[in-house]
Protein backbone atom coordinates (compact mmCIF):
# COMPACT_ATOMS: atom_id res chain seq x y z
CA UNK A 1 0.00 0.00 0.00
CA UNK A 2 2.96 2.26 -0.73
CA UNK A 3 1.06 4.35 -3.26
CA UNK A 4 -2.15 4.59 -1.24
CA UNK A 5 -1.55 8.17 0.07
CA UNK A 6 -0.77 9.45 -3.46
CA UNK A 7 -3.84 7.72 -4.90
CA UNK A 8 -6.10 8.80 -2.02
CA UNK A 9 -5.16 12.47 -2.29
CA UNK A 10 -5.61 12.28 -6.06
CA UNK A 11 -9.03 10.67 -5.70
CA UNK A 12 -10.21 13.22 -3.13
CA UNK A 13 -9.11 15.98 -5.46
CA UNK A 14 -10.92 14.36 -8.38
CA UNK A 15 -14.10 14.09 -6.30
CA UNK A 16 -13.81 17.73 -5.34
CA UNK A 17 -13.66 18.81 -8.99
CA UNK A 18 -16.54 16.57 -10.02
CA UNK A 19 -19.96 18.25 -10.46
CA UNK A 20 -21.69 15.06 -9.21
CA UNK A 21 -20.10 15.65 -5.80
CA UNK A 22 -21.64 19.10 -5.53
CA UNK A 23 -25.01 17.84 -6.73
CA UNK A 24 -24.85 15.13 -4.05
CA UNK A 25 -23.71 17.61 -1.37
CA UNK A 26 -26.39 20.18 -2.22
CA UNK A 27 -29.20 17.63 -2.32
CA UNK A 28 -28.02 16.06 0.90
CA UNK A 29 -27.62 19.27 2.89
CA UNK A 30 -30.92 20.65 1.58
CA UNK A 31 -32.75 17.46 2.53
CA UNK A 32 -31.16 17.17 5.96
CA UNK A 33 -31.79 20.86 6.60
CA UNK A 34 -35.45 20.32 5.73
CA UNK A 35 -35.72 17.37 8.11
CA UNK A 36 -34.07 19.35 10.89
CA UNK A 37 -36.41 22.31 10.36
CA UNK A 38 -39.43 20.00 10.51
CA UNK A 39 -38.14 18.43 13.72
CA UNK A 40 -37.75 21.88 15.28
CA UNK A 41 -41.27 22.83 14.22
CA UNK A 42 -42.69 19.68 15.82
CA UNK A 43 -40.67 20.11 19.01
CA UNK A 44 -41.60 23.76 19.36
CA UNK A 45 -45.32 22.84 19.05
CA UNK A 46 -45.64 19.90 21.41
CA UNK A 47 -43.23 18.36 23.94
CA UNK A 48 -41.78 15.04 22.73
CA UNK A 49 -40.30 12.09 24.58
CA UNK A 50 -37.46 11.30 22.17
CA UNK A 51 -34.56 13.67 21.77
CA UNK A 52 -34.32 15.64 18.45
CA UNK A 53 -31.06 13.81 17.64
CA UNK A 54 -32.72 10.37 17.69
CA UNK A 55 -35.53 11.56 15.41
CA UNK A 56 -33.00 13.21 13.13
CA UNK A 57 -31.36 9.88 12.22
CA UNK A 58 -34.69 8.13 11.51
CA UNK A 59 -34.60 9.11 7.85
CA UNK A 60 -30.87 8.50 7.29
CA UNK A 61 -31.64 5.93 4.56
CA UNK A 62 -33.16 8.39 2.13
CA UNK A 63 -30.14 10.69 1.63
CA UNK A 64 -27.85 7.64 1.85
CA UNK A 65 -29.59 5.86 -1.03
CA UNK A 66 -29.20 9.00 -3.18
CA UNK A 67 -25.85 10.32 -2.03
CA UNK A 68 -23.81 7.11 -2.03
CA UNK A 69 -24.57 6.30 -5.71
CA UNK A 70 -23.73 9.89 -6.69
CA UNK A 71 -20.42 9.79 -4.82
CA UNK A 72 -19.31 6.38 -6.04
CA UNK A 73 -20.83 5.89 -9.50
CA UNK A 74 -17.87 7.49 -11.28
CA UNK A 75 -14.97 5.93 -9.42
CA UNK A 76 -14.27 2.74 -11.39
CA UNK A 77 -16.86 2.96 -14.19
CA UNK A 78 -15.34 6.18 -15.52
CA UNK A 79 -11.78 4.84 -15.35
CA UNK A 80 -12.84 1.87 -17.44
CA UNK A 81 -14.87 3.96 -19.89
CA UNK A 82 -12.00 6.37 -20.54
CA UNK A 83 -9.39 3.60 -20.49
CA UNK A 84 -7.34 5.40 -17.82
CA UNK A 85 -7.43 2.22 -15.72
CA UNK A 86 -4.98 0.76 -18.26
CA UNK A 87 -2.40 3.52 -17.77
CA UNK A 88 -2.98 3.42 -14.03
CA UNK A 89 -2.41 -0.31 -13.70
CA UNK A 90 0.73 -0.26 -15.84
CA UNK A 91 2.41 1.89 -13.17
CA UNK A 92 3.70 0.14 -10.03
CA UNK A 93 0.30 0.25 -8.30
CA UNK A 94 -1.94 -2.70 -7.52
CA UNK A 95 -5.67 -3.10 -8.17
CA UNK A 96 -6.19 -3.27 -4.40
CA UNK A 97 -4.51 0.11 -3.90
CA UNK A 98 -6.65 1.66 -6.63
CA UNK A 99 -9.93 0.25 -5.30
CA UNK A 100 -9.18 1.04 -1.65
CA UNK A 101 -8.08 4.60 -2.53
CA UNK A 102 -11.32 5.21 -4.42
CA UNK A 103 -13.30 3.78 -1.53
CA UNK A 104 -11.33 5.90 0.95
CA UNK A 105 -11.91 9.12 -0.98
CA UNK A 106 -15.66 8.55 -1.30
CA UNK A 107 -15.85 7.64 2.40
CA UNK A 108 -13.97 10.77 3.48
CA UNK A 109 -16.42 12.88 1.50
CA UNK A 110 -19.42 10.94 2.85
CA UNK A 111 -18.21 11.51 6.41
CA UNK A 112 -17.50 15.19 5.87
CA UNK A 113 -20.98 15.73 4.44
CA UNK A 114 -22.65 14.03 7.40
CA UNK A 115 -20.22 15.78 9.74
CA UNK A 116 -21.23 19.14 8.33
CA UNK A 117 -24.81 18.49 9.47
CA UNK A 118 -23.47 18.61 13.03
CA UNK A 119 -23.59 22.36 12.43
CA UNK A 120 -27.42 22.21 12.65
CA UNK A 121 -27.19 21.07 16.28
CA UNK A 122 -24.49 23.63 17.07
CA UNK A 123 -26.71 26.43 15.72
CA UNK A 124 -29.70 25.11 17.72
CA UNK A 125 -27.67 25.00 20.89
CA UNK A 126 -26.21 28.47 20.28
CA UNK A 127 -29.56 30.14 19.64
CA UNK A 128 -31.67 28.27 22.17
CA UNK A 129 -29.08 28.76 24.91
CA UNK A 130 -30.37 25.54 26.49
CA UNK A 131 -27.95 22.62 26.72
CA UNK A 132 -30.83 20.16 27.34
CA UNK A 133 -32.07 20.41 23.75
CA UNK A 134 -28.84 18.87 22.64
CA UNK A 135 -28.75 15.37 24.00
CA UNK A 136 -25.17 14.39 23.18
CA UNK A 137 -25.65 10.61 23.69
CA UNK A 138 -28.06 9.97 20.77
CA UNK A 139 -26.20 12.52 18.69
CA UNK A 140 -22.83 10.80 19.09
CA UNK A 141 -24.44 7.34 18.75
CA UNK A 142 -26.18 8.45 15.56
CA UNK A 143 -23.01 9.82 14.02
CA UNK A 144 -21.11 6.68 15.06
CA UNK A 145 -23.76 4.60 13.28
CA UNK A 146 -23.44 6.79 10.19
CA UNK A 147 -19.63 6.41 10.25
CA UNK A 148 -19.66 2.62 10.66
CA UNK A 149 -22.57 1.83 8.33
CA UNK A 150 -21.14 4.29 5.79
CA UNK A 151 -18.15 1.98 5.32
CA UNK A 152 -20.42 -0.76 4.00
CA UNK A 153 -22.68 1.56 1.99
CA UNK A 154 -19.75 3.21 0.22
CA UNK A 155 -18.15 -0.19 -0.44
CA UNK A 156 -21.41 -1.29 -2.10
CA UNK A 157 -21.29 1.83 -4.27
CA UNK A 158 -17.68 1.07 -5.27
CA UNK A 159 -18.63 -2.52 -6.08
CA UNK A 160 -21.53 -1.32 -8.28
CA UNK A 161 -19.13 1.00 -10.11
CA UNK A 162 -16.74 -1.89 -10.74
CA UNK A 163 -19.46 -3.83 -12.57
CA UNK A 164 -20.02 -1.48 -15.50
CA UNK A 165 -18.47 1.23 -17.69
CA UNK A 166 -21.62 3.31 -17.49
CA UNK A 167 -21.92 5.72 -14.53
CA UNK A 168 -25.71 5.83 -14.67
CA UNK A 169 -25.97 2.05 -14.63
CA UNK A 170 -23.53 1.99 -11.70
CA UNK A 171 -25.70 4.51 -9.82
CA UNK A 172 -28.84 2.45 -10.44
CA UNK A 173 -27.18 -0.80 -9.32
CA UNK A 174 -25.81 0.92 -6.24
CA UNK A 175 -29.19 2.47 -5.37
CA UNK A 176 -30.97 -0.87 -5.80
CA UNK A 177 -28.43 -2.77 -3.69
CA UNK A 178 -28.61 -0.17 -0.91
CA UNK A 179 -32.40 -0.17 -1.06
CA UNK A 180 -32.46 -3.96 -0.78
CA UNK A 181 -30.04 -3.93 2.14
CA UNK A 182 -31.67 -1.13 4.12
CA UNK A 183 -35.36 -1.27 3.23
CA UNK A 184 -35.58 -4.91 2.10
CA UNK A 185 -34.16 -6.12 5.41
CA UNK A 186 -36.64 -3.93 7.26
CA UNK A 187 -39.60 -5.20 5.22
CA UNK A 188 -38.59 -8.83 5.79
CA UNK A 189 -38.11 -8.32 9.54
CA UNK A 190 -41.59 -6.91 9.81
CA UNK A 191 -43.12 -9.78 7.78
CA UNK A 192 -44.96 -12.42 9.75
CA UNK A 193 -44.74 -15.13 7.03
CA UNK A 194 -40.97 -15.47 7.41
CA UNK A 195 -41.33 -16.72 10.97
CA UNK A 196 -43.07 -19.90 9.85
CA UNK A 197 -41.88 -23.15 8.36
CA UNK A 198 -38.62 -23.59 6.52
CA UNK A 199 -37.82 -19.90 6.40
CA UNK A 200 -37.49 -19.61 10.17
CA UNK A 201 -33.68 -20.03 10.19
CA UNK A 202 -33.44 -17.17 7.68
CA UNK A 203 -35.17 -14.91 10.20
CA UNK A 204 -32.09 -14.86 12.42
CA UNK A 205 -29.90 -13.88 9.49
CA UNK A 206 -32.31 -11.11 8.45
CA UNK A 207 -32.51 -9.81 11.99
CA UNK A 208 -28.72 -9.75 12.15
CA UNK A 209 -28.62 -7.55 9.04
CA UNK A 210 -31.51 -5.32 10.10
CA UNK A 211 -30.03 -1.84 9.51
CA UNK A 212 -32.86 0.08 11.21
CA UNK A 213 -32.40 -2.08 14.28
CA UNK A 214 -28.68 -1.26 14.31
CA UNK A 215 -29.47 2.43 14.01
CA UNK A 216 -31.85 2.30 16.96
CA UNK A 217 -29.23 0.54 19.10
CA UNK A 218 -26.52 3.05 18.24
CA UNK A 219 -28.82 6.02 18.88
CA UNK A 220 -29.74 4.52 22.26
CA UNK A 221 -26.01 4.42 23.01
CA UNK A 222 -25.64 0.65 22.58
CA UNK A 223 -22.55 -0.15 20.52
CA UNK A 224 -22.90 -3.86 19.80
CA UNK A 225 -19.72 -5.37 18.37
CA UNK A 226 -21.84 -7.76 16.30
CA UNK A 227 -23.27 -4.75 14.44
CA UNK A 228 -19.78 -3.35 13.95
CA UNK A 229 -18.61 -6.73 12.69
CA UNK A 230 -21.54 -6.87 10.26
CA UNK A 231 -20.58 -3.57 8.64
CA UNK A 232 -16.81 -4.18 8.68
CA UNK A 233 -17.10 -7.68 7.22
CA UNK A 234 -19.61 -6.44 4.65
CA UNK A 235 -17.18 -3.69 3.68
CA UNK A 236 -14.27 -6.10 3.30
CA UNK A 237 -16.41 -8.46 1.24
CA UNK A 238 -17.73 -5.70 -1.06
CA UNK A 239 -14.20 -4.37 -1.60
CA UNK A 240 -12.88 -7.85 -2.31
CA UNK A 241 -15.61 -8.35 -4.91
CA UNK A 242 -14.77 -4.94 -6.40
CA UNK A 243 -11.10 -5.92 -6.74
CA UNK A 244 -12.06 -9.25 -8.29
CA UNK A 245 -14.49 -7.56 -10.64
CA UNK A 246 -11.81 -5.14 -11.89
CA UNK A 247 -9.28 -7.95 -12.34
CA UNK A 248 -11.73 -10.26 -14.11
CA UNK A 249 -12.66 -7.48 -16.52
CA UNK A 250 -8.97 -6.85 -17.21
CA UNK A 251 -8.51 -10.49 -18.16
CA UNK A 252 -11.36 -10.22 -20.65
CA UNK A 253 -10.56 -6.74 -21.97
Amino acid sequence: MKHFPTLLSHEIRMLLVSPATYVAATLFLAFMGLIFTKILEIYSGTPQEASPASVYFQLFWLPTCVMVPLLTMKCLAEERRLGTIETLLTTPVTTTEVVVAKFGAAYVLYLSLWGSTGGFFYILRKFSGDARVLDSGPLLGGFLFIAISGLFFIAIGVFASSLTRNQSVAAIISGVLLGLLILGGNALTDSAWIEHGLLRPAKAVIDYGHVFGHRDDFVRGVVDTRHVLFYVSGTVLALLFSILSVEVKLLHS
Binding site: M14, T87, T91
Partner: protein, 340 residues
Protein backbone atom coordinates in the same frame (compact mmCIF):
# COMPACT_ATOMS: atom_id res chain seq x y z
CA UNK B 1 27.59 -3.80 -24.07
CA UNK B 2 27.48 -7.50 -24.97
CA UNK B 3 26.54 -8.68 -21.43
CA UNK B 4 23.34 -6.66 -21.25
CA UNK B 5 20.13 -8.67 -21.77
CA UNK B 6 17.82 -7.50 -24.56
CA UNK B 7 15.41 -4.75 -23.57
CA UNK B 8 12.50 -6.92 -24.71
CA UNK B 9 12.64 -10.64 -25.28
CA UNK B 10 9.45 -12.38 -26.40
CA UNK B 11 9.49 -16.15 -26.81
CA UNK B 12 6.66 -18.21 -28.32
CA UNK B 13 4.02 -15.82 -27.02
CA UNK B 14 0.42 -16.99 -27.36
CA UNK B 15 -2.75 -15.20 -26.29
CA UNK B 16 -6.24 -16.57 -26.76
CA UNK B 17 -9.56 -14.97 -25.83
CA UNK B 18 -12.45 -17.36 -25.47
CA UNK B 19 -11.11 -19.76 -28.10
CA UNK B 20 -9.97 -17.02 -30.51
CA UNK B 21 -6.20 -16.79 -30.93
CA UNK B 22 -5.18 -13.13 -30.94
CA UNK B 23 -1.43 -13.79 -30.78
CA UNK B 24 -0.03 -17.02 -32.11
CA UNK B 25 3.51 -18.06 -31.24
CA UNK B 26 5.27 -14.72 -31.62
CA UNK B 27 9.01 -14.47 -30.86
CA UNK B 28 11.22 -11.40 -31.20
CA UNK B 29 13.79 -9.34 -29.34
CA UNK B 30 14.46 -5.63 -29.07
CA UNK B 31 17.97 -4.52 -28.11
CA UNK B 32 18.66 -1.82 -25.53
CA UNK B 33 18.33 1.64 -27.07
CA UNK B 34 16.80 0.31 -30.28
CA UNK B 35 13.65 1.78 -31.88
CA UNK B 36 11.43 -0.89 -33.37
CA UNK B 37 8.28 -0.39 -35.40
CA UNK B 38 5.46 -2.83 -34.80
CA UNK B 39 3.22 -3.03 -37.83
CA UNK B 40 0.20 -5.00 -38.81
CA UNK B 41 -3.34 -4.58 -40.10
CA UNK B 42 -6.18 -3.88 -37.69
CA UNK B 43 -6.83 -6.91 -35.50
CA UNK B 44 -3.39 -8.40 -36.17
CA UNK B 45 -2.59 -8.61 -32.46
CA UNK B 46 -0.39 -5.51 -32.01
CA UNK B 47 -2.24 -3.95 -29.10
CA UNK B 48 -2.68 -7.32 -27.37
CA UNK B 49 1.06 -8.01 -27.66
CA UNK B 50 1.87 -4.57 -26.29
CA UNK B 51 -0.51 -5.02 -23.37
CA UNK B 52 1.15 -8.33 -22.56
CA UNK B 53 4.57 -6.64 -22.67
CA UNK B 54 3.38 -4.16 -20.04
CA UNK B 55 2.01 -6.88 -17.78
CA UNK B 56 -1.51 -5.48 -18.11
CA UNK B 57 -2.72 -8.69 -19.76
CA UNK B 58 -1.44 -12.17 -18.91
CA UNK B 59 -0.16 -14.36 -21.73
CA UNK B 60 -1.78 -17.73 -22.42
CA UNK B 61 1.61 -19.31 -23.19
CA UNK B 62 5.17 -18.27 -23.87
CA UNK B 63 7.40 -15.85 -22.02
CA UNK B 64 8.17 -12.13 -22.07
CA UNK B 65 11.26 -10.69 -20.44
CA UNK B 66 11.91 -6.99 -19.99
CA UNK B 67 15.61 -6.23 -19.39
CA UNK B 68 16.07 -9.84 -18.27
CA UNK B 69 13.13 -9.94 -15.83
CA UNK B 70 10.06 -12.05 -16.50
CA UNK B 71 6.81 -10.12 -16.88
CA UNK B 72 4.79 -13.01 -15.44
CA UNK B 73 7.06 -13.63 -12.44
CA UNK B 74 8.01 -10.04 -11.54
CA UNK B 75 5.17 -7.76 -12.64
CA UNK B 76 6.00 -5.05 -10.09
CA UNK B 77 9.59 -4.83 -11.28
CA UNK B 78 8.45 -4.70 -14.91
CA UNK B 79 6.10 -1.81 -14.22
CA UNK B 80 9.11 0.16 -12.98
CA UNK B 81 10.97 -0.58 -16.21
CA UNK B 82 8.41 0.48 -18.77
CA UNK B 83 6.74 3.63 -19.97
CA UNK B 84 3.47 2.86 -21.74
CA UNK B 85 1.24 4.94 -23.92
CA UNK B 86 -1.88 2.92 -24.82
CA UNK B 87 -3.93 3.17 -27.99
CA UNK B 88 -6.10 6.32 -28.04
CA UNK B 89 -3.97 7.75 -25.22
CA UNK B 90 -6.55 7.88 -22.41
CA UNK B 91 -5.97 10.87 -20.12
CA UNK B 92 -7.98 12.33 -17.25
CA UNK B 93 -9.98 15.20 -18.69
CA UNK B 94 -10.09 17.43 -15.62
CA UNK B 95 -6.45 17.62 -14.54
CA UNK B 96 -3.83 20.18 -15.48
CA UNK B 97 -0.84 18.97 -17.49
CA UNK B 98 1.79 19.60 -14.78
CA UNK B 99 -0.52 18.23 -12.10
CA UNK B 100 -1.06 15.04 -14.09
CA UNK B 101 2.66 14.57 -14.66
CA UNK B 102 3.32 15.13 -10.96
CA UNK B 103 0.72 12.52 -10.02
CA UNK B 104 2.12 10.00 -12.49
CA UNK B 105 5.66 10.74 -11.37
CA UNK B 106 4.72 9.98 -7.77
CA UNK B 107 3.06 6.71 -8.83
CA UNK B 108 6.16 5.80 -10.83
CA UNK B 109 8.23 6.40 -7.72
CA UNK B 110 10.29 9.29 -9.06
CA UNK B 111 11.81 10.85 -5.90
CA UNK B 112 9.93 14.01 -4.90
CA UNK B 113 13.17 16.02 -5.00
CA UNK B 114 13.88 15.04 -8.60
CA UNK B 115 10.32 15.16 -9.85
CA UNK B 116 10.01 18.94 -10.33
CA UNK B 117 13.16 19.27 -12.48
CA UNK B 118 12.25 16.10 -14.40
CA UNK B 119 8.75 17.43 -15.17
CA UNK B 120 10.33 20.68 -16.44
CA UNK B 121 12.65 18.61 -18.61
CA UNK B 122 9.92 16.47 -20.23
CA UNK B 123 7.73 19.53 -20.72
CA UNK B 124 10.64 21.12 -22.56
CA UNK B 125 11.42 18.00 -24.61
CA UNK B 126 7.76 17.54 -25.58
CA UNK B 127 7.23 21.27 -26.19
CA UNK B 128 4.49 21.44 -23.57
CA UNK B 129 5.75 24.37 -21.49
CA UNK B 130 3.14 26.73 -22.91
CA UNK B 131 0.28 24.48 -21.86
CA UNK B 132 1.62 23.16 -18.55
CA UNK B 133 -1.16 24.87 -16.55
CA UNK B 134 -3.95 24.01 -18.98
CA UNK B 135 -6.68 21.45 -18.29
CA UNK B 136 -5.97 18.31 -20.34
CA UNK B 137 -9.59 18.13 -21.57
CA UNK B 138 -9.14 21.52 -23.28
CA UNK B 139 -5.98 20.54 -25.20
CA UNK B 140 -5.81 19.78 -28.91
CA UNK B 141 -5.15 16.22 -30.07
CA UNK B 142 -1.48 17.00 -30.80
CA UNK B 143 -0.87 18.34 -27.32
CA UNK B 144 -2.70 15.42 -25.75
CA UNK B 145 -0.52 12.96 -27.65
CA UNK B 146 2.56 14.79 -26.43
CA UNK B 147 1.26 14.68 -22.85
CA UNK B 148 0.98 10.90 -23.30
CA UNK B 149 4.55 10.68 -24.57
CA UNK B 150 5.80 12.97 -21.77
CA UNK B 151 4.12 10.67 -19.25
CA UNK B 152 5.68 7.57 -20.84
CA UNK B 153 9.24 8.96 -20.68
CA UNK B 154 8.80 10.75 -17.34
CA UNK B 155 10.43 8.14 -15.12
CA UNK B 156 13.20 7.47 -17.69
CA UNK B 157 12.39 3.76 -18.00
CA UNK B 158 14.67 1.60 -20.15
CA UNK B 159 11.69 0.46 -22.28
CA UNK B 160 9.01 2.62 -23.89
CA UNK B 161 5.93 1.05 -25.46
CA UNK B 162 3.70 3.27 -27.58
CA UNK B 163 0.55 2.07 -29.28
CA UNK B 164 -0.15 4.35 -32.24
CA UNK B 165 1.35 7.55 -30.80
CA UNK B 166 0.70 9.57 -33.97
CA UNK B 167 -2.89 8.55 -34.65
CA UNK B 168 -5.04 11.54 -35.57
CA UNK B 169 -2.17 14.02 -35.80
CA UNK B 170 -1.57 16.44 -38.66
CA UNK B 171 1.69 16.13 -40.67
CA UNK B 172 3.37 18.91 -38.70
CA UNK B 173 2.54 17.26 -35.38
CA UNK B 174 3.65 13.87 -36.74
CA UNK B 175 7.02 15.41 -37.56
CA UNK B 176 7.37 16.75 -34.00
CA UNK B 177 6.43 13.40 -32.45
CA UNK B 178 8.76 11.56 -34.85
CA UNK B 179 11.69 13.77 -33.86
CA UNK B 180 10.79 13.28 -30.24
CA UNK B 181 10.84 9.49 -30.58
CA UNK B 182 14.06 9.60 -32.60
CA UNK B 183 15.67 11.63 -29.80
CA UNK B 184 15.19 8.62 -27.48
CA UNK B 185 17.42 6.41 -29.68
CA UNK B 186 20.31 4.91 -27.75
CA UNK B 187 18.88 5.92 -24.36
CA UNK B 188 15.67 3.90 -24.26
CA UNK B 189 14.38 0.91 -26.21
CA UNK B 190 11.21 2.01 -27.97
CA UNK B 191 8.57 -0.18 -29.57
CA UNK B 192 5.91 1.74 -31.48
CA UNK B 193 2.95 0.61 -33.48
CA UNK B 194 1.57 2.81 -36.21
CA UNK B 195 -0.32 2.74 -39.48
CA UNK B 196 1.68 5.67 -40.84
CA UNK B 197 4.30 3.66 -42.69
CA UNK B 198 6.67 6.43 -43.86
CA UNK B 199 6.91 7.57 -40.26
CA UNK B 200 7.89 4.06 -39.11
CA UNK B 201 10.41 3.76 -41.94
CA UNK B 202 12.04 7.05 -41.02
CA UNK B 203 12.01 6.61 -37.25
CA UNK B 204 12.70 2.95 -36.63
CA UNK B 205 15.92 0.96 -36.72
CA UNK B 206 13.98 -2.20 -37.36
CA UNK B 207 10.46 -3.24 -38.21
CA UNK B 208 8.31 -6.19 -37.15
CA UNK B 209 5.25 -6.92 -39.23
CA UNK B 210 2.59 -9.15 -37.73
CA UNK B 211 -0.56 -10.49 -39.28
CA UNK B 212 -3.21 -12.78 -37.84
CA UNK B 213 -1.18 -13.05 -34.65
CA UNK B 214 2.07 -14.16 -36.33
CA UNK B 215 5.30 -12.35 -37.18
CA UNK B 216 5.40 -12.33 -40.98
CA UNK B 217 8.45 -10.13 -41.56
CA UNK B 218 11.25 -8.68 -39.47
CA UNK B 219 14.29 -6.58 -40.26
CA UNK B 220 15.36 -3.13 -41.40
CA UNK B 221 13.18 -1.53 -44.08
CA UNK B 222 15.95 -2.17 -46.66
CA UNK B 223 16.21 -5.84 -45.62
CA UNK B 224 12.46 -6.25 -45.91
CA UNK B 225 12.43 -4.76 -49.39
CA UNK B 226 15.12 -7.21 -50.45
CA UNK B 227 13.55 -10.20 -48.69
CA UNK B 228 10.02 -9.61 -49.87
CA UNK B 229 10.52 -8.34 -53.41
CA UNK B 230 13.95 -9.86 -54.07
CA UNK B 231 14.41 -7.82 -57.24
CA UNK B 232 15.10 -4.33 -58.54
CA UNK B 233 12.94 -2.70 -61.17
CA UNK B 234 14.12 -0.29 -63.88
CA UNK B 235 11.98 1.71 -66.24
CA UNK B 236 13.39 2.85 -69.57
CA UNK B 237 12.19 4.84 -72.53
CA UNK B 238 14.17 3.60 -75.50
CA UNK B 239 14.20 3.97 -79.25
CA UNK B 240 15.66 1.24 -81.44
CA UNK B 241 15.24 -2.47 -82.19
CA UNK B 242 13.71 -4.00 -79.06
CA UNK B 243 14.69 -7.56 -80.03
CA UNK B 244 18.36 -6.73 -79.31
CA UNK B 245 17.45 -5.81 -75.72
CA UNK B 246 17.37 -9.27 -74.05
CA UNK B 247 20.78 -10.20 -75.37
CA UNK B 248 22.25 -6.88 -74.30
CA UNK B 249 20.81 -7.28 -70.83
CA UNK B 250 22.04 -10.86 -70.51
CA UNK B 251 25.57 -9.56 -71.04
CA UNK B 252 25.14 -7.33 -68.04
CA UNK B 253 23.29 -9.71 -65.71
CA UNK B 254 21.70 -13.09 -66.42
CA UNK B 255 18.72 -12.40 -64.15
CA UNK B 256 17.54 -9.37 -66.14
CA UNK B 257 14.05 -9.80 -67.59
CA UNK B 258 11.82 -7.60 -69.67
CA UNK B 259 8.54 -7.64 -67.78
CA UNK B 260 6.61 -5.01 -69.68
CA UNK B 261 6.92 -3.28 -73.03
CA UNK B 262 4.65 -0.69 -74.65
CA UNK B 263 4.18 0.09 -78.34
CA UNK B 264 6.37 2.92 -79.70
CA UNK B 265 4.86 6.40 -79.47
CA UNK B 266 4.85 9.02 -82.25
CA UNK B 267 8.53 9.75 -81.69
CA UNK B 268 9.45 6.04 -81.80
CA UNK B 269 10.18 5.69 -78.08
CA UNK B 270 8.68 2.81 -76.14
CA UNK B 271 8.49 2.27 -72.39
CA UNK B 272 10.17 -0.89 -71.11
CA UNK B 273 10.15 -2.31 -67.57
CA UNK B 274 13.06 -4.54 -66.51
CA UNK B 275 13.63 -6.56 -63.35
CA UNK B 276 16.80 -8.08 -61.94
CA UNK B 277 17.81 -10.00 -58.83
CA UNK B 278 20.83 -7.71 -58.44
CA UNK B 279 20.62 -5.29 -55.49
CA UNK B 280 23.17 -2.71 -56.56
CA UNK B 281 22.38 0.19 -58.86
CA UNK B 282 23.01 -0.85 -62.48
CA UNK B 283 21.77 2.38 -64.06
CA UNK B 284 25.09 3.59 -65.41
CA UNK B 285 26.02 0.20 -66.86
CA UNK B 286 22.59 -0.10 -68.45
CA UNK B 287 23.09 3.23 -70.19
CA UNK B 288 26.51 2.15 -71.44
CA UNK B 289 25.37 -1.21 -72.76
CA UNK B 290 22.22 0.14 -74.41
CA UNK B 291 24.25 2.82 -76.15
CA UNK B 292 26.65 0.10 -77.38
CA UNK B 293 23.64 -1.77 -78.91
CA UNK B 294 22.48 1.41 -80.68
CA UNK B 295 19.44 1.80 -78.46
CA UNK B 296 18.75 5.46 -77.73
CA UNK B 297 17.68 6.13 -74.18
CA UNK B 298 15.41 9.07 -73.33
CA UNK B 299 14.72 8.20 -69.69
CA UNK B 300 15.91 5.70 -67.12
CA UNK B 301 14.74 5.30 -63.53
CA UNK B 302 15.18 2.71 -60.85
CA UNK B 303 11.92 2.04 -59.08
CA UNK B 304 12.15 1.17 -55.39
CA UNK B 305 9.11 -0.48 -53.83
CA UNK B 306 7.64 1.85 -51.20
CA UNK B 307 7.39 0.69 -47.64
CA UNK B 308 3.66 0.49 -48.19
CA UNK B 309 4.34 -2.10 -50.95
CA UNK B 310 6.51 -4.02 -48.49
CA UNK B 311 3.78 -3.95 -45.84
CA UNK B 312 1.06 -5.02 -48.26
CA UNK B 313 3.22 -7.79 -49.71
CA UNK B 314 4.21 -9.06 -46.25
CA UNK B 315 0.66 -9.15 -44.94
CA UNK B 316 -0.63 -10.66 -48.22
CA UNK B 317 2.10 -13.28 -48.09
CA UNK B 318 0.94 -14.37 -44.65
CA UNK B 319 -2.64 -14.48 -45.86
CA UNK B 320 -1.62 -16.72 -48.75
CA UNK B 321 0.07 -19.04 -46.26
CA UNK B 322 -2.92 -19.17 -43.96
CA UNK B 323 -5.81 -19.16 -46.45
CA UNK B 324 -5.27 -22.71 -47.78
CA UNK B 325 -5.32 -24.01 -44.22
CA UNK B 326 -8.57 -22.19 -43.55
CA UNK B 327 -10.05 -23.52 -46.77
CA UNK B 328 -9.01 -27.06 -45.85
CA UNK B 329 -10.67 -26.67 -42.48
CA UNK B 330 -14.02 -25.55 -43.95
CA UNK B 331 -14.31 -27.01 -47.45
CA UNK B 332 -18.09 -27.29 -47.67
CA UNK B 333 -19.34 -24.11 -46.08
CA UNK B 334 -16.74 -21.52 -47.03
CA UNK B 335 -17.18 -19.79 -50.40
CA UNK B 336 -13.99 -19.17 -52.41
CA UNK B 337 -12.20 -16.15 -50.96
CA UNK B 338 -10.47 -13.64 -53.17
CA UNK B 339 -6.89 -12.87 -52.21
CA UNK B 340 -6.79 -9.27 -51.03
Amino acid sequence: MPDQPPAIEVTHLVKTYGGVTAVSDISFTVAQGEIVGFLGPNGAGKSTTMRILTGYLPATAGSVNICGASVAAEPDLIKRRIGYMPENNPLPEDMRVSEYLYFRGRLKEVPRRKLGPRIDEVLEVCDLKRVRHKIIGQLSKGYRQRVGIAEAILAEPPVIIMDEPTIGLDPHQILIVRDLIASLRGRMAVIISSHILPEIEMTCDRVLIINQGRVVASGTPADLRRDIFGQSTYQLEINGAPETLPAALADLDATFQVTEQTAPDATGFRRVTLTTRRDDDLGEELLRILAAKNLRVRALSRRQPTFEDVFLAATRRSWDAVAPLARDAQPATQPPTATP
